[in-house]
Amino acid sequence: MSIGLLLLIILGLGLAGWLVGRQRAVASVAGDIRKLHSLPGYYGHTVFLMTTVPAFLLMIAWTLAQPVVIESRIADMIATSDIPEGSSRGLVMADVRRIADGLDAVVARGEGDATLAAVGVEGADIRARLAEAGVAVGGEVKPSVLAAALEYRALSGTALTALAAVALILALAGLGWSISRIQGEYRARNATEAFVMWLLIGCSLIAVLTTVGIIASLVFETAHFFRLYPAADFFFSATWNPKFGGGSSLGIWPLVWGTLYVSAISLVVAVPVGLMSAIYLAEYASKRTRSWVKPAIEILAGIPTIVYGLFALITVGPLLRDWFAQPLGLGSSSSSVMTAGLVMGIMVIPFVSSLSDDIINAVPQSLRDGSLGLGATSSETVRQVVLPAALPGIVGAVLLAASRAIGETMIVVMGAGAAAKLSLNPFEAMTTVTVKIVSQLTGDTEFASPETLVAFALGLTLFTLTLGLNILALYIVRKYREQYE
């Protein structure tokens, strides 16, 4: 039975339950619905919710847990001698999964389970068969691995049947129980509302679960990484040179330097432009100008970062190379810290300008009036009264922009290059934390080598850095706002 069909059946049960529940409630008062505690629909609602929701939740939890349980059960089937040199059980496990999927494909081609049983006996031609079905398996298929794959497939099939059975029993139990509760005095509305309230709370908790998931996956895999690679080398080495044969040096400093360099350039571009346009819009611009310039600048924030990446790659990079880097003799690479920084600066302008704009507008008019009344010009008022008053908020805005720049990925992937270097030359290609996360995790990923796992340590560094900056920025902004309220 497929998952989709199961969903439909449970939904059907729920709908039937709705009708039965409502019917039963109306019947219990002989059609005189004034005698019911709640409106008749609520009796239906409570049955529907009790039938479908627990079954759906079970299905979600089951699907998440199933592979873990099955793998732990068949992990021992793979003989230790069948794990190739330099590989791990996890890698072989991936093969098992792939072969099991391949067997599914073979069966789907109409060869039936009979051939599958034969395959189990003589594992020799399994690769050819899988290749015929369009599944490529690298290397020789060892008997114990094949046995594990067959077992994996069998267990998955059993698990699906078991899931269907348990989910249906749960749905029917919910149906029966909730129907049995229905009589005239039953407070169906209260029951339904309490149930819905729990659903609402559950939905809000997803935010917390996401954070837990992020932190758990980052911390867990980072710990895994530090078991394979010394933490001291990661934090204190100044070379980044991953080799997939082993013996890599994975020092974080070249990446952190690249990240900070690119972000610094982007802030040098974005802060003056963003801040000055915010000041102009808040203090000088007419209402009409403001009403179209502000949205126009905010378009910059709505453009996907991949567009900026392509812009860096095809326009800004070659331009900087031909007009600055090569004439000045500073390099001949079109991807450079300068390229990425400039383009990222353009991207960050609206973050600085709209936040600063809000903050400048929040400065009380009385301060300006006082200053102007003493004979100061508008610009003197802005520089000597408004800006000092708004300074904490503007610092907060800049910190938020910095955190945005540090976490940005596509612009640096396409504009900054891939060479990990500690250099001061802005026209040289350098790399950042995010670029390396992408390059270490893209493609075939098996979580066994330090070269792959380092991405999680990098991710944790990035997460901590941006989170710290955000919390600091929000703290500063909030503290400032309290002053004038």
């Binding site: 309230m197 935010a207 302008i349 610009s379 996360i437």
Partner: protein, 433 residues
């Protein structure tokens, strides 16, 4: 210092000049920001618009029975043994025959130059066409074939005579021949609808690369995001805004949502890779995983505007409903939520637009894989629009830059439509209390 009120003293002049300069800085900043926007758009559009036009060759092709179906039975199983190589040969023979028949002078172009006018992809297209309709065998059809990327590039200004002389995939003679074919009406540049419908093509065939699978994949992901994040986002917002008591749990949730909105998107990719693919064993490159990751990323960005929309509904509405005996949940579901709906939908569409343009997390969950078959469901491998752009920029052939920019134009059009709908919704239904 004695002076008239009507003449400015040097100090006032200096102060006024400073004032003008300051204004000037502000104006310059705005002009710089707007110019950057214009520059960005012009650069992308000028690079991408040619992708919507394509060079084609139209000539008669005789589908020789001796080559395509030796048995003469029109049995698909037998006919599918004929590979694209045979079809490619057939195409090159046909175009040679057509050139001779029209009396066009080859002008020094070699046989290889003639063969290489036609994209390798066209042989596969022709083969599919014949297998779909075996009755075509033995007849002569008017076939429209894609020209190769170099010929196409010549008519878009990417390939010049000078560059062709250095290029081993083309030659100046071939380009001259192409010009002659154009005069004869065999070769022509027209609208390229295949760009939106065809699947991706291999590294050497930029002319055949299309966005079909990427558009379908992105659409499937957006469906997942919409189906999951609209109910969950609204439920969470309703709870936090209308019901939540002030305690440590709701504080924790609020802090979490505020911080999740600022987490770099790539971290969500790591989360998806670790939880959905590695832990739960969901397939790589599948729209379901992409959709789940984007949902988690979009949720906090939807909850914030949704709460603002709920907050904008005046308390008098709630008081009136409670006053006539509605329960708190009835008040919210029957009165507050419908009134807040335009605002919620606006926030939802803007959140979806952001999710549509997001690239980085999708790279980590394997959406970069090369996919040739249209996905049949949420669990089949697919591509995504922004990832397809990234993919194309990593290819060697310069023809792919044009494709990538064209794909961005498609992406931007989707975003413009979504944002316009959001703005219209807001203008039309938003109520000021």
């Amino acid at each position: 210092m004695s002076g008239s009120l009507l003449t400015q003293d040097p100090r006032t002049k200096a102060r006024n000049a400073a004032e003008r300069r300051f204004r000037g800085y502000g104006l310059t900043a705005i002009v710089v920001a707007l110019l950057a926007l214009v520059w960005l758009l012009i650069s992308i559009f000028s690079a991408g618009l040619p992708a919507f036009r394509q060079t084609f060759l139209t000539f008669p092709v005789t589908l020789d029975e001796k080559v395509l179906d030796k048995s003469g039975t029109r049995d698909i199983a037998v006919m599918s043994k004929v590979t694209t190589v045979a079809f490619a040969k057939l195409l090159s023979q046909s175009i040679e025959a057509e050139i001779t028949a029209r009396g066009i002078d080859l002008g020094g172009a070699s046989a290889k130059d003639v063969t290489k006018l036609v994209s390798e992809e066209s042989a596969a297209t022709l083969r599919r066409m014949v297998l779909a309709d075996p009755a075509l065998v033995g007849t002569t059809i008017e076939f429209t074939a894609l020209a190769t990327g170099r010929i196409d590039g010549y008519y878009k200004g990417r390939v010049t005579m000078e560059s062709a002389a250095l290029d081993k995939n083309t030659s100046p003679e071939q380009l001259v021949l192409a010009d002659k074919l154009k005069e004869a009406g065999i070769l022509g540049t027209r609208l390229n609808s295949g760009f939106l419908t065809m699947p991706d093509a291999s590294d050497k065939r930029p002319e055949a690369a299309g966005l079909g699978i990427a558009v379908v994949g992105s659409f499937l992901m957006m469906v997942v995001v919409l189906v999951l994040s609209l109910p969950i986002g609204v439920a969470a917002s309703v709870y936090l805004e209308e019901f939540a008591p002030k305690n440590w749990l709701t504080d924790l949730i609020e802090v979490n949502i505020a911080n999740l909105a600022a987490v770099p998107s790539i971290v969500y990719g790591i989360l998806g890779l670790a939880i959905f693919i590695n832990f739960a064993g969901l397939p790589q490159s599948a729209p379901i995983v992409g959709g789940l990751v984007l949902t988690l990323m979009t949720l906090p960005r939807i909850i914030i505007p949704t709460r603002a929309a709920l907050k904008a509904v005046p308390p008098s509405i709630r008081d009136a409903a409670l006053g006539v005996g509605a329960s708190k949940l009835q008040t919210v579901l029957h009165h507050v939520l419908p009134l807040a709906m335009p605002g919620i939908l606006t926030g939802m569409i803007i959140g979806l637009a952001q999710a549509l343009g997001e690239t980085a997390p999708l790279l980590l969950i394997g959406m970069v894989a090369f996919v040739r078959d249209f996905p049949g469901g949420l669990f089949d491998p697919a591509a995504a629009l922004p990832v397809q752009v990234y993919n194309w920029t990593q290819r060697g052939d310069p023809g792919f830059v044009e494709r990538a920019s064209g794909a961005i134009i498609v992406l931007l059009l989707f975003l413009i439509v979504m944002n316009t709908v959001a703005i219209i919704l807001r203008r039309k239904f938003e109520r000021r209390w």
